[in-house]
């Protein structure tokens, strides 16, 4: 049993086996430790790397992860589960940075993705696996990748980012599976809900003339309010749309404050960049190609919605 691997990648088959074989106690210490772990993730939006090899610390870390997910599932809050998944996957990304080729291949295999060595130190991944796990961002669009014989060639950094996203999806998705939680977990979830905002703290209310927005924009705003983790392209589109309707940069940033991975500095940088570049709102065909068209309202351009009717 490789405890270091298990603690770095607690979603792995080995880690699951470890958790199963360990009768995890739900005593005060365990629960308290898991709660601290969650608080740390929520506060910073990312977890630091564990630099230790001390076995008891590594074990505690794996157990924290397992309990944290059970507790988060019991809170029923998408915001909390999403924010934890982001924080934990960022930590996993840091571990992945340090892996050699065999290490990366092993982690990829945990997600059912087969890796092959490509030319020039690159990695090859089958395209359906790539499409499943690559961040839904412009930078990762398949059309811009080197695709040959069914395999996408990836530089090391891109591969690490893809695996980090796979981990995030995994952690977030399984969080909703908990039913009939033990009383200790339920109690911890209740405590967590009172001590942490169950929903994202919207900085302040932003006035929006939402009725006149097209269905795609309304849908994205609704998902944001539910603290859904919107893909990058969706955020880019939403920011571009809002800026083009004349909304101030400050207000656009506030709109994003309910995202589970909200970080004011990053959001500010990106929104200001979009404003500075003066990006135009894409045509409906573009919105469709981002996969965020919500309804075939056939207006041609989202900005035209409501004006023609």
């Amino acid at each position: 049993m490789d405890l270091l691997y298990i603690s770095h990648y607690p979603f792995s088959a080995e880690a699951k086996e470890f958790i199963r074989s360990r009768k995890i106690g739900l005593g005060y210490d365990s629960i308290d430790s898991a709660k601290k772990h969650i608080h740390e993730a929520m506060a910073k939006g990312e977890l630091a790397k564990l630099e230790t090899r001390v076995e008891s610390v590594l074990e505690r870390d794996v157990i924290n992860y397992a309990l944290a997910r059970a507790i988060l599932a019991a809170t029923g809050s998408r915001y909390l589960a999403g924010r934890y998944a982001v924080a934990k996957s960022k930590q996993i990304g840091k571990y992945l940075q340090a892996e050699d080729e065999a290490g990366l291949a092993k982690v990829a295999a945990e997600f059912g993705a087969e890796l092959h060595a490509g030319s020039g130190g690159k990695f090859e991944m089958r395209f359906p696996d790539y499409l499943r796990y690559a961040p839904k961002a412009r930078e990762y669009k398949l059309v811009n990748e080197s695709l040959k014989e069914g395999r996408v060639q990836l530089a090391r950094n891109s591969l690490v980012r893809v695996l980090e996203e796979a981990a995030r999806m995994h952690i977030e998705a399984a969080a909703g599976e908990m039913t009939g939680a033990p009383p200790e977990i339920k109690k911890a979830a209740e405590e967590l809900k009172t001590s942490l905002p169950r929903e994202a703290p919207a900085l302040t209310k932003v006035f929006m003339s939402e009725e006149s927005y097209p269905p795609c924009v309304k849908k994205l705003l609704e998902r944001l309010r539910l603290s859904d983790n919107l893909p990058h392209v969706a955020r880019f589109y939403l920011a571009t749309f809002l800026l083009n309707t004349g909304m101030k940069t400050e207000d656009v940033i506030k709109v994003f404050s309910t995202a589970p991975d909200f970080n004011e500095a990053t959001t500010r940088y990106q929104v200001e960049y979009i404003a500075k570049k003066g990006y135009k709102v894409p045509a409906c065909s573009g919105v469709e190609s981002y996969g965020i068209c919500a309804e075939a309202c056939r207006v041609g351009s989202p900005l035209r919605y409501g004006k023609r009717r």
Partner: protein
């Protein structure tokens, strides 16, 4: 004798077509008509006036499908690319989606057709030239994208005529079955070149203008190969390049070709805007327009690929707008020699008298017919049903 019966009966076109369709479904081999894993598919059928009137149908096996069609000869029948646990469940969520084939729909409607632009025939009509344009695009989809880039083998790819103006490409198998709608959308974007970022391929700031070489993977290689091909044939105007720029490229044809072979695109000095124009045109001409071309009108049907619960024409079934069969091709390589007006004809040549409206000259089943202009004509059954289905003729009563 049969003629007399037909002539004396007060027959409507709809009844006439239905009876012939019924005969076809009585004759057909049920196994050939049934899609793979038929019990997991949803079916939809259409009427004389509506392509899909009823959905959420399910059949346990080939015989059940055949017997349904002989009792209710549908004018259109489609099935789901998707596999469901409960294909007749409603609403959609109850079906329990288990995966789907990957399907591409190439239709003359989506393409820019010279014959339509030149006014040789109306948009709804289809001629040999239209079909050959769609065939070329379909071959390009297979030869330039599905095989070399996506790594499918030709034996995994099955092609069938749509029954009207296009071809459908089906890929089944574990590789594609679980792909999400998003993933399928990305495949469409790849093939149509949507969202291609030239800055990832060209480094215009470098002194010798570094770009892709013909053997570069992905879109870079495609653009380099396309440029070399155009330098050879000189057909830059066909892809819509400005004549001035085309002349300058051709003037330095050798240097430019030799350069691009090594991934150096600087032999002809171009402004940023000219580079953009060249890249745009190369991309446009090397892609397969699954999206439909703006301005060419028609129904845009990339949705067939990424909508994971869409229904698509059942191969070997009849198309109510033509009376032709959605014929399966034996192999993808048979496509160039496939002629729908010969190979998808399933009705006989018994003479039928019809009143024709405006009909351009057309070839079908080895014969040549028309043009007609508001006149009576005696046509073989297959040609009569074709015009009747296209609403270009009525029965002589």
């Amino acid at each position: 004798m049969a003629d007399d019966v037909q002539l004396t009966m007060a027959n409507t076109e709809e009844q006439f077509v239905r009876r012939l369709f019924q005969g076809y479904y009585e004759r057909i081999d049920a196994e050939r008509l049934a899609p793979k894993e038929i019990a997991k598919r949803e079916f939809g059928v259409g009427t004389w006036t509506k392509k899909i009137e009823t959905r959420h149908l399910a059949f346990k096996g080939p015989q059940e499908l055949k017997s349904y069609l002989t009792r209710n000869p549908a004018f259109y029948i489609s099935y789901s690319a998707a596999y469901y646990e409960f294909p007749d469940g409603r609403p959609m969520q109850r079906k329990n989606w288990q995966g789907a084939d990957l399907i591409f729909d190439l239709d003359a409607d989506h393409l820019r057709l010279e014959c339509v632009e030149k006014g040789e025939h109306a948009k709804g009509w289809v001629c040999g030239k239209c079909i050959s344009v769609v065939k070329d695009e379909t071959m390009r989809l297979i030869e330039e994208f599905l095989v070399p880039d996506f790594g499918f083998s030709k034996s995994e790819i099955s092609v069938n005529f749509s029954g009207n103006r296009g071809f459908h490409v089906h890929i089944a198998g574990e590789t594609v079955r679980q792909m999400s709608g998003w993933a399928r959308r990305e495949v469409v974007d790849y093939i149509s070149g949507t969202g291609l970022n030239d800055d990832r391929i060209f480094h215009m700031d470098s002194p010798d203008r570094t770009g892709p070489a013909p053997d570069s993977p992905g879109w870079g290689g495609k653009m380099a190969r396309r440029l070399i091909q155009l330098l050879e044939t000189g057909k830059f105007l066909d892809i819509g390049l400005e004549p001035k720029l085309a002349r300058r490229l051709l003037k330095k044809k050798e240097e430019m070709t030799a350069g691009v072979r090594r991934g150096k695109w600087g032999a002809v000095k171009m402004t940023g805007a000219e580079y953009d124009q060249l890249c745009w045109r190369l991309r446009e001409s090397a892609s397969v327009p699954l999206e439909g071309i703006e301005g060419a009108g028609g129904e845009v049907d990339a949705g067939v690929t990424f909508d994971v619960s869409r229904l698509i024409r059942l191969p070997e079934s009849l198309h109510g707008e033509t009376g032709l069969a959605a014929k399966k091709l034996g192999r993808a390589d048979d496509l160039p020699s496939f002629d729908p007006m010969r190979d998808a004809v399933v009705f006989g040549s018994r003479p039928v008298r019809v009143k024709c409206r405006e009909v351009p000259k057309f070839e079908m089943g080895g014969g040549e017919f028309g043009p007609f202009s508001d006149e009576d004509a005696e046509l073989p059954e297959f040609a009569a049903i074709y015009l009747i289905c296209k609403r270009k003729a009525t029965l002589w009563k």
